[in-house]
Subunit: 109 residues, 2 copies
């Protein structure tokens, strides 16, 4: 098995870490965008979420989300394709993700 990026195992997700990751407006927008559009690249997310930050800042936010266990990152060529770790989050913290992505769009699972 060859993973390209490190992700915390599902059992290690901690509520405070997850909440802290979601507490930043840019990261919350990122998660909501990801819930809406599905798997996409860093640049695409930044565009779709309408975030006006530098690349390094965006990279930083995505790292926080990944290390909190909220997103999964797989490498495809020059790109990183990100997805929400819905199943792990729902298993560990039922209802939380749906509650933070708010609108009826939560049904887009």
């Amino acid at each position: 098995m060859s993973e390209e990026v490190i992700h915390p195992p599902a059992e290690e997700l901690s509520m405070p870490k997850v909440l802290a990751a979601l507490a930043d407006p840019a990261r919350l927008a990122t998660v909501r965008t990801l819930a809406r559009v599905g798997e996409s690249s860093c640049g695409q997310i930044q565009h779709d979420a309408g975030l006006e930050v530098s690349k390094s800042t965006m990279s930083h936010h995505l790292r926080i989300l990944r290390e909190a266990g909220i997103t999964h990152s797989r490498v495809q060529g020059a790109r990183r394709l990100l997805t929400l770790r819905r199943d792990d989050l729902d298993a560990r913290f039922p209802g939380l993700l749906d509650a933070v992505i708010q609108p009826e769009l939560a049904a887009s699972r």
Copy 2:
């Protein structure tokens, strides 16, 4: 109408602020304790939640929770009696509170 303590109106609750308030372990424990035991005083909460912090730190945490709109504080003599603002939180962010107080105890509403 004479309020003794300032609380943000229900419409002004912001998701990032609420999440940031809940992201600290001491404050999360406070909220869960409050959900379990109902209205109680600062000192009682601190005891029930098993928090070993100074009084000033406790006061600080309780202020964050109050200003985020998560708790309501009413003055009774020398004490402050705190409650969760369940209705406001459920109206504004359905499912969020139940998701963070986690266990089946969530039904203790």
